[in-house]
């Protein structure tokens, strides 16, 4: 049978990739020592990335923006879409906190101009502003209510994370996730083909 070329060092690198991209800094550090795997990035950058993620998950967009600029001053300048996402999140947080006047002011000063530049931004801005039309407990359309969900924060955090990884020329796809996808695809293809018994392994 086909001999699969794979060493323990290969496996260790795949695990390291996962720990680094997903931001398990301490585990990545321990792993680097225990398994003698060279760290693919500066471990401090993992921590910065995680701090940014946590700030966004907390809803502290201002802190996140400051930290992004500390890590890479060019990132937001060169990535207007990402910057808009963060500003949008900030607007959402204002609305969530009931700081309506500040929200409107912020939207007018910071976001309206950007919306005019880009129709996609404008759509997002309109959607976000329409949050103001609904009382906290009313049943807003799910598309709009979702903006207030933790999922929205996660989404923004994920986009920032991916952009940072890309700027560090570190892959943003987690290899182990791709591996599972590939396994799944292969199993599906096999099952469609012949009477080859598939295997349950996870």
């Amino acid at each position: 049978m086909h001999e699969v070329q794979l060493t323990k060092a290969d496996m260790n690198r795949l695990v390291m990739d996962y720990l680094v991209i997903e931001g398990y800094k301490s585990a990545a550090e321990e792993f680097s020592q225990e398994a003698h795997v060279a760290p693919p990035v500066d471990f401090d950058s993992i921590e910065s990335r995680m701090n940014i993620r946590e700030a966004l998950q907390r809803g502290d967009v201002e802190d996140a923006i400051v930290r992004v600029n500390e890590l890479d001053p060019d990132l937001l300048d060169t990535n207007p879409e990402l910057y808009f996402r963060l500003q949008q999140q900030k607007l959402i947080e204002y609305i969530r906190q009931g700081r309506i006047m500040e929200a409107i002011e912020f939207a007018q000063e910071e976001l309206a101009a950007r919306g005019e530049e880009n129709p996609e931004f404008l759509g997002e801005l309109e959607k976000t502003m329409s949050l103001l039309a609904f009382e906290a407990n009313s049943s807003a359309p799910s598309e709009i209510a979702e903006l207030l969900s933790p999922g929205q924060r996660m989404k923004t955090a994920g986009e920032v994370n991916a952009a940072i990884l890309e700027s560090l020329s570190q892959g943003k796809e987690v290899k182990l996730v791709s591996l599972l996808k590939l396994l799944s695809w292969g199993e599906t293809m096999l099952s469609e083909r012949a009477d080859i018994p598939s295997k349950v392994i996870l």
Binding site: V4, Y24, S142, L179, V200
Partner: protein, 661 residues
């Protein structure tokens, strides 16, 4: 989906696809038709270019069809020059590139033969000498021949083929122009779908009034008296009208006409089974559907008029079109679409599959949980204790953090928040690696340090099945190891005894000893000497210790021999023989060679490994980390798919995607 066989998880380690699919079941469909090798055309052959017999086996292939018209013998042709050339660079985008070959030398690659004999010993094909035709394919690693020349055996009689097999010229006495005059040729080798994308170019060297030339593909049994595209299983792009033909008499408008000095490129994308053409380096667009699905596919051209002549480039010269860039782009797209496809829940445990229909996609959350579990068990398997501990703590912290941030949202702030918070269960990752790892690590470390008693008692306590398995084979191994450790201990004592008369300044020699078992026994006899680590033992007491240790070892060995005298198993006898031979050496630990293999540290490492795997196995765990099995399983599946005609699999380059860079 419905064909999937649920396999109990306990058996999963043995049920890799590698174990399930017998090698024999991999028959490559390219061998349902005779595979021909290029021939040198000699002048004394009357009819070097016979019509293709339809699906006849190689032995009857030379039988002359009665419909073959008599024709003038070909001019003498000098012996063929080698037609092999380096595999074109664009094919390096295939993950199966190492199997793609342009070499048509008659000898089978040695690796292939080795493969046959080593992994499929019951295969009949070993008995007969390996023919040039790989015959029934028993391996998934056989080389894949790329087209390198037009086939003189099957090409139409009105076509004259150049010596190197790349130029075709229409030669016919008849000047009437009818469809029946068409003459086609195809290559010797079919295109391996493992290429992912295959591409060749044809240059029109001379033409009639209009270029009634068709360039395309054909299956193995297509009549060569017709242009590619007219017959079933053939596809062609025609120069006279620029139409594309797919098994039809009337074409579809496709591209520009082509003629003298034009270079037409012709590609097949096996990921989509669509073809494409280029003219003088310009892409003309995708065309046809289901090209070559389920059949072997050959490059094929057809000419119709006297004087028409073409020359093919199978990649031995630079292409007009930047095919490498094109393939690279398609490869990336294919890979993206594979890894962006939703996870099929069937790859998870059968419990999950049973409860959820297979068309429900797996959430990212679930995926992450699964990977966390895989990573954690990987770390535990290899004994990366600190990392595992840290990782587990971090996972829990993240879960708590997520749970906390969710709890800060006002209840009922929107339907979105409710749906997103359901999947969180802090501590949902239940994996008691601490206990598992600490016991196993203790046992393994005991073996490594020579403390077999601890290894035995801990294994007996936590994993009794391991010692009992295979009629107590592991117990035999461990007890013999204990005997060896005792012999080693006595040898150490003898060394020290000899040393103590010469060297007077050794401190704490006995207190540092690692084998506490023997130590204790000697201590009970020579208690007074053992207590004083500051005072050096006299040479006489050292001698007594040595003799005592040796006697204990021999007694243990005799008891061991008595216990297993009736065990006739060759493996047991062999273990005993090796173990007792250790006594013959003055310093077995450092003797080197075979003795070191039996007595030395490597023997401990090997035994420790064996015991570790036996414990894992007894727990119904795979002897290799599941994460590694995932990789191997994926690799074998993809390789199998690639070798059996799934073009997309050729663009799933695991080496490149996962291991490099």
């Amino acid at each position: 989906m419905s064909r999937q066989v649920a396999i109990p998880r306990s058996a999963s380690s043995a049920r890799n696809i590698e174990d399930i699919i017998p090698a024999r079941s991999f028959t490559n469909r390219s061998h349902t038709s005779p595979v021909r090798q290029p021939r040198i055309i000699h002048a004394n052959v009357d009819h070097p270019c016979l019509p293709a017999p339809v699906a006849s086996p190689p032995t009857t292939r030379t039988r002359r069809s009665s419909s073959t018209a008599p024709r003038a013998p070909r001019p003498p042709v000098p012996p063929s020059s080698p037609v092999s050339f380096p595999v074109p660079a664009y094919l390096n985008h295939s993950s199966l590139r190492h199997l793609l070959q342009t070499d048509v030398s008659p000898t089978l690659p040695i690796t292939h033969r080795q493969y046959l004999s080593s992994t499929d010993s019951d295969d009949d094909s070993n008995v007969s000498p390996p023919p040039r035709d790989p015959g029934p394919v028993t391996s998934l690693d056989h080389p894949l021949q790329l087209p390198t020349r037009w086939d003189s055996e099957t090409c139409h009689q009105h076509l004259s083929l150049s010596d190197n097999g790349r130029e075709l010229t229409f030669q016919s006495a008849s000047s009437t122009t009818t469809d029946s005059n068409a003459a086609a040729a195809r290559t010797v080798q079919p295109i391996p779908p493992a290429c992912g994308i295959y591409y060749y170019e044809v240059k029109v060297q001379s033409k009639g009034q209009k270029a009634y030339i068709s360039i395309g593909f054909a299956g193995p049994n297509v009549r060569t008296s017709r242009l590619p595209g007219w017959e079933p299983d053939s596809w062609g792009y025609h120069g006279d009208d620029g139409c594309s033909f797919a098994t039809e008499k009337k074409g579809t408008a496709y591209g520009p006409t082509f003629g003298l000095d034009d270079v037409i490129g012709c590609g097949i994308d096996f990921t989509t089974h669509r073809a494409f053409y280029t003219k003088n380096g310009v892409f003309l667009g995708l065309v046809f559907e289901n090209v070559g699905k389920g059949i072997d596919l050959y490059p094929s051209v057809g000419l119709q008029h006297t004087g028409e002549s073409i020359k093919v480039n199978f990649g031995h010269e630079p292409f007009k079109f930047d095919i490498e860039d094109y393939v690279s782009e398609q490869r990336t797209q294919t890979w993206k679409s594979i890894i962006n496809s939703p996870l099929n829940p069937s790859i998870f445990s059968k419990e999950k599959t049973a409860s959820s229909p297979s068309n429900v996609a797996v959430s990212d959350e679930q995926t992450k949980l699964t990977i966390n579990k895989l990573v954690l068990s990987y770390l535990a398997h290899h004994g990366y204790v600190k990392t595992a501990r840290t990782f587990q703590k971090q996972i829990q912290d993240v879960e708590m953090f997520d749970a906390y941030t969710e709890s800060t949202f006002a209840p009922g702030s929107g339907p979105g928040s409710a749906s997103a918070s359901t999947s969180h269960t802090p501590g949902s990752l239940e994996f008691d690696f601490e206990r598992d790892i600490s016991i196993r690590t203790k046992i393994v470390d005991s073996v490594l340090s020579g403390d077999i008693d601890t290894a035995l008692s801990e294994t007996q306590k936590h994993h009794p099945g391991v010692l009992a398995a295979e009629q107590g084979l592991m117990l035999v191994k461990l007890r013999c190891r204990k005997f060896i450790e005792m012999v080693l201990e006595s040898a150490e004592l003898r060394k020290k005894m000899a040393g103590s008369t010469v060297e007077d300044r050794e401190d704490g020699v006995f207190g540092d000893d690692m084998d506490m078992d023997v130590d204790d026994q000697t201590a009970s006899v020579n208690g007074a000497t053992m207590n004083g680590s500051t005072r050096h033992p006299s040479s006489s007491s050292a001698k007594a210790q040595y003799e005592q240790a040796l006697e204990t070892a021999i007694k243990y060995g005799q008891a061991l021999d008595k216990d297993y005298r009736k065990d006739e198993r060759p493996i047991v006898r062999s273990i005993f023989k090796k173990s007792f031979s250790v006594m013959a050496f003055y310093d077995p630990m450092n003797a080197g060679g075979v003795t070191a293999e039996v007595a030395g540290h490597e023997a401990r490492v090997e035994l420790a490994n064996e015991l570790n795997q036996a414990i894992l196995k007894s727990q119904g765990r795979p002897t290799r980390p599941t994460l590694e099995t995932v990789y191997r399983q994926a690799a074998v599946s993809i390789h199998y798919l690639g070798m059996t005609g799934v073009g997309s699999a050729a663009f799933a380059d695991m080496q490149k995607e996962f291991l490099e860079g």
